[in-house]
């Protein structure tokens, strides 16, 4: 039968967890939703999902710290940040922590599914910063 990619979601806001779970339900298999960084590590270790969607600001362990620890594994899941933070310093920190994708929370509805699919295929998917020179010519 058809296998959908297995995803773990981590966010300390239960309303966001639930809306993201519903958003992804049609195309992904959300195997766990957790509300802090340590719970995310535990769930990922137990369930071995193909990808994880992480908030940055979470209790116990931040999303960035979770990503750093996951990146040290031999076969880490693909890491996508879903965050309200839109500054370049957060995008850079996410890349440095080993993320392959980043979605601003206000764009979750339009972008999260696409970004997850891209990262599952091995692509990097980060939003472009407006003040950054655009490498693609118009």
């Amino acid at each position: 039968m058809v296998k959908r990619p297995r995803i773990v979601l981590a966010d300390d806001n239960p309303a966001i967890l639930e809306s993201v779970r519903q958003l992804l339900a049609a195309d992904f298999d959300v195997v766990a939703t957790v509300s802090d960084g340590q719970a995310a590590l535990d769930a990922i270790g137990a369930l071995r999902p193909e990808a994880v969607v992480l908030d940055i600001s979470m209790p116990r362990l931040s999303g960035l710290e979770v990503a750093r620890r996951l990146s040290a594994l031999t076969e880490p899941p693909r890491i996508v940040f879903l965050s309200v933070h839109e500054g370049g310093e957060f995008l850079a920190a996410a890349r440095e922590a080993g993320a392959s994708g980043y979605v601003f929370k206000r764009n979750a509805g339009s972008d999260l599914g696409r970004v997850l699919t891209q990262t599952l295929a091995g692509e990097m998917a980060f939003p472009e910063l407006r003040d950054e020179p655009n490498p693609v010519s118009d």
Partner: protein, 160 residues
């Protein structure tokens, strides 16, 4: 644009986001997606109608799986070459895909790195096995390999 020959691709997968990703990825690399299909039966119909150069084919799909569809497309649309893009890593499934007539096999998790290499190899007439895959149990050839067409990839199933 130059007068380069444009590769025409039919993208077959039951996941709508995946088909969208494939189309976006291929367009970025100047490969034209002429059609999509969501299962094996639709793939056979579309391949027959569109006569694509390459059919990118998932394996796990409803109605008719990608291996059965590959076999049928190689029979009824011999000009179209099939490239499998799947999460399946089992050597027996990889072997079965080539036995069914596929010219290439890449892992979905490696598409960003392997897909264009595979398309180039297949277009040249070679066979392509992506990183992390080996065709057939006990086959110790290293991963990611291009073989000349006619290589005995799967004993007794050589395609001319």
């Amino acid at each position: 644009m130059d007068n380069l020959p444009v590769v025409r691709v039919l993208a077959v997968d039951d996941s709508v986001p995946w088909r969208g990703f494939l189309a976006a990825h291929l367009v970025k690399h100047s490969v034209g997606v002429v059609g999509t299909a969501g299962d094996g039966l639709e793939a056979i119909e579309q391949a027959h109608t569109l006569q694509p150069d390459i059919v990118i084919m998932d394996i796990c799909m409803p109605r008719l799986n990608g291996l059965a569809a590959t076999r049928e497309i190689c029979r009824v649309v011999p000009a179209s070459k099939v490239l499998i893009a799947s999460n399946e890593t089992d050597p027996l499934i990889v072997q079965a895909a080539f036995a069914a007539g596929a010219c290439g096999y890449v892992l979905k998790s490696r598409v960003a790195l392997d897909l264009m290499k595979a398309i180039a190899a297949i277009t040249r007439g070679d066979l392509f096995v992506g990183h992390g895959l080996t065709p057939g149990a006990g086959d110790d050839r290293s991963s990611e390999a291009v073989w000349q067409r006619g290589t005995e990839l799967v004993p007794g199933t050589r395609r001319s």
